[in-house]
Symmetry: none
Subunit: 242 residues, 2 copies
């Protein structure tokens, strides 16, 4: 590898040998690498280090990788590459759309892992980690502009649309997690006031109000699509503007 990189990876696998092997290999290729044996160790690591990408084995003792992946997605946009056993039920896993950014069946060629890591980091724009509400600037989608400094929405025709504070937080959650199915619980985590413990159906109401602001049709949505039994999906491709 010619280009130096400073990305910090976290390898989560219960097999010590694999953990060490991957860690060594990735370090040789210029990455900073931390390791964790299970979900709790992973959460611990995420608190103390600024992780750019997680490599997550789907088979883990206790909570499995799918659960962890879903939980992570509730609060974070850190890219995830899932490792699965070959011959495993990949169809099912992919169908679940847990929000992993890529999948790699074991056993794999280490160079392929490297390629995927590069690809995922490139696609994610190597965003800084953390909760969602940190970007200072504007988001643009379908001609609309969400102004995060003024907490303000501009329609494609340029007129200002006022948003209540809950509507703003919800829209921010959507634009910063676009093209991914978000469950009601995840949306509550992302959009609600810390102090409130709302019934998760209250998100429906908020979505309805936000759709109305965006003049989005429920039946043929251009922006917020309902995925029955799973949650909501923000369709437009979102551009961050500074």
């Amino acid at each position: 590898m010619t280009t130096p990189t400073t990305a910090h990876l976290l390898v989560v696998d219960d097999d010590m040998e694999i953990r060490q092997l991957l860690s060594d290999y990735l370090q040789q290729n210029g990455y900073r690498v931390s390791i964790a044996a299970d979900g709790t160790a992973m959460q611990q690591m995420l608190k103390t280090a600024n992780i750019n990408l997680i490599i997550l084995d789907i088979m883990l003792p206790g909570k499995d990788g799918l659960d962890l992946c879903r939980e992570l997605r509730a609060t974070s946009d850190i890219p995830i590459i899932m490792l699965t056993a070959r011959g495993d039920d990949m169809d099912r896993i992919l169908g679940l759309e847990m929000g992993a950014d890529d999948y790699l069946p074991k056993p794999f060629n280490p160079r392929e892992l490297l390629a995927r890591i590069k690809g995922v980091l490139r696609r994610s724009g190597t965003l800084p980690h953390g909760h969602n509400h940190e970007i200072n600037g504007n988001y643009r989608f379908n001609g609309w502009i969400l102004d995060t400094s003024r907490r303000h929405l501009l329609s494609p025709t340029g007129t200002a649309v006022s948003l209540s504070s809950a509507e703003y937080r919800l829209l921010l959650a959507f634009v910063s997690h676009a093209n991914r199915i978000l469950s009601r619980d995840q949306l509550l985590d992302l959009a609600r006031d810390r102090s409130s413990f709302a019934f998760d159906r209250s998100i429906d109401m908020l979505v309805s109000r936000l759709r109305h602001r965006l003049q989005d049709d429920t039946e043929q949505p251009e922006m917020i699509k309902t995925v029955r039994g799973e949650g909501y999906l923000f369709l437009p491709s979102v551009e961050t503007v500074t």
Copy 2:
């Protein structure tokens, strides 16, 4: 279920009633089933029969299920599904660490047990399974376009056709496994909501609804053809578009 299988299961449970109930139910669903009341009977059975999968109650007189599981793992790779009391996460964790392949809390829906059995057998490489979904991109067939990022369908004339979630998942299963006969069970695995354990006949209904969306004639199908006794076949050649 209709697909024949020759897997040989061993049910280990000290409760005679449960043993008999499970045995009957699993046999009705095409499995060969043997039973054992405790660890010694289990070991005896393993010597005399070629068992493909063990369903093991964690609560047993004498040596309990965890011990048996660990002993088995010392000498054998036979897949194990553990049955335990609901809500006991400790058991689940211990079971998985001891090498169980899956875990099912009692009381359970018998169909869920069937689903787990199928899943474990497939993962263990005993049964074949299909290829992978593409994660991103669109599919084109007969002029139709399935847009996976927006989860909707465009007709040859360019009009948007809305699909329900289940219809979308079924169509995705078809286009990503085109020109292959897919059994009802396979389609259920690929298309069902992960929390539901439906009868395989419910696929018929879904196919019927999807055909209607695609304006496909049942008698002279251009897309979804029925293969009597085997399942369904997606006829068009599918092109993946990015």
